[in-house]
Amino acid sequence: MNELVHGALYGTLIATAILSTIAMGIWFERKFAGRMQQRLGPTIVGPAGLLQPFADIIKLLQKEDIVPRDADRGLFDLAPILAVVCSLGVAAVIPFSPSIIASDLDVGVLWVLGIGGLMVIPTFAAGWGSNNKFALLGAMRAIAQSVSYGVPLVLAVLVPVVLSGSLSISGIVAWQAQHHWFAVWPIVPGLPAFVIFFLAMLAESNRIPFDIPEAESELVAGITTEYTGAKFTLFYMAEYVHTLVGSALGAALFFGGWDGPFAPGLHWMVLKTLTLFVLIYWVRWSLLRFRADQLMRLCWTWLTPIGVALLLVSAAWVTFGGTN
C-alpha cells in the first residue's frame, strides 16, 4: 500500500515536471533553431517569446476536431492517447535522485525496453486508423525503423546491465555512483555503447536525421497527416516526451544519473538530462534526413554488429575481472 501511494505521488510529480519541461522545451527548441539559422525565433508573444508554446496549445485545443469519413474511429482516437502513455510510461522507472523514482522495479531495463517498444502500436494505429495513404506509408516506415533500431538499442542498453550486473535502473545508477560512469570507464564498451544508444534513441523517437516516417517533402506529415487540434497536440507532446525521457534514460544508464559532487542528486540528473536534450536538438537542426536504405544500412551493417561486439567486450571485461 505504501508503495502504491509512493508510486502515485511521485509518478504524478514526475509526469507533471516532464510535461511542464516540454512546454519550455518547445520554446527552447524554436529559439535555439532560430539562432542556428541566424534568426531570432519567437520574440513577439510574451517576453522573449516565452508564452509561444502556450499560445500554440491554446490555439490547437480550439481547433475543429476532424475525423476522416472512412477512418477507423476507435484506433484514430486511441492512438494519440497511447502515444503519450507509452512515452511517459518509460519515465516510471527512471531515478531522478536516490529517492525520487516512481517505481523502483527490479527489472527496470526490461520495462523501459518493453514500454518503449510499445510505441509501435500507437504509431501504426494512427497510420492505419487515419485511412490516408501518407499516414499509412509513414506508419509503415516508422515501424520498419523502430523494429530495426530496437536491436541496437537493446544491445547498447545491455552493456551497462552486464557491467553492473543489475537490471534495475536505480541499481545501475547506484553502481555507477560507487565506481565509474559507464561513459567514462570502461571507455571501450561504455562510450561507443552510449553513441549507439543515442542514435537508436533518435531513430526510435523519429527525430531528424531519422525522421523519414514524417518526411515532409514526401509524406506531407507522416502519421499525423490527418490529425487536427487536440489529438495532434498529444502527438506533438508525445514526441517531445519521448525525446526528454530518452535523454533521462541515457543520463541514467551512461552518465551516472544523479551521481555528482557538491549538489543534490536531482540537480545533477536534471542537468545531465537537459544536456542530452540540447544535444538532440543540436543534431536535429544540423543534419539532413537519411534515405530509407541508408537508414537500414546504418542499422544492420554498423550499429548492430558493433553492438554485439561491445556486448562481448563488456562480458569479457566482467569475466576477466576488470570491473573495479
Partner: protein, 188 residues
Amino acid sequence: MGYFNDTAKALRTTMVNAFREPVTQEFPLVIRPRAERFRASFALPDDEHGEVACIGCLACERICPSRVIKMKSGGKKDSPVTGKKRAYIDEFVLDLSACIGCELCVQVCNSDAIVMVRQPEVPAFAREDLVLDMEKLRANAKLKTASWGTGTRLQEMQEPPKAEKPAVAKASPATETAPAPAPAKETV
C-alpha cells in the same frame, strides 16, 4: 568516413551560427533599407504650380498591360493658378489588386503626373480597398516617398546615347521631396 566528417562539419557550422548575431530585421519596428528604385504603390503628384499634374492624356491607361487604370478627362479649362488653358481630369482610378508594378504608366507619362511610391498599401480586408481613387492617390503623393522613376527620367534612360542633346529636364516636385523621411507607419 566522409559521413562522419560531414556530420561533424554540419554540427560545427550550426553551433558557430548559434553564437553569431542574428540577421533578422524585426519588421514592424525596423525597416530594411531598400534599393533606390524600389516601388510598391502609386501617387498623383502636383505640378510646379500646386495643381494636379495629370492632364488626362490617356497614355497610361492605354499602355497598362493589366488594364487597371481608368480615367475621365475633364476637358480644357483656364487654370486658376496660372491663368493659362490646360487639360484636367475628373476621375482617376487605379486598381492595385491587378497591378503588376511594371512602371510602364510612369514611363509613358510626359508630364510626370503619375509616380510610384516606396511605401506599400496596407493589406486590405476587402478587394475594393485596393482600388486607389483620386483622393487616395493625391494623399499618397503627400504622405509617401516617391520612388526614383519619373516619366522624364525613365524616358531619358531609354533614349539612345546622344552627347549633344540636352536633357529635357522638368522639375518634378515628387522627386525633389524624395529624401524626406518616410512616415513610420506602413513603411517598408
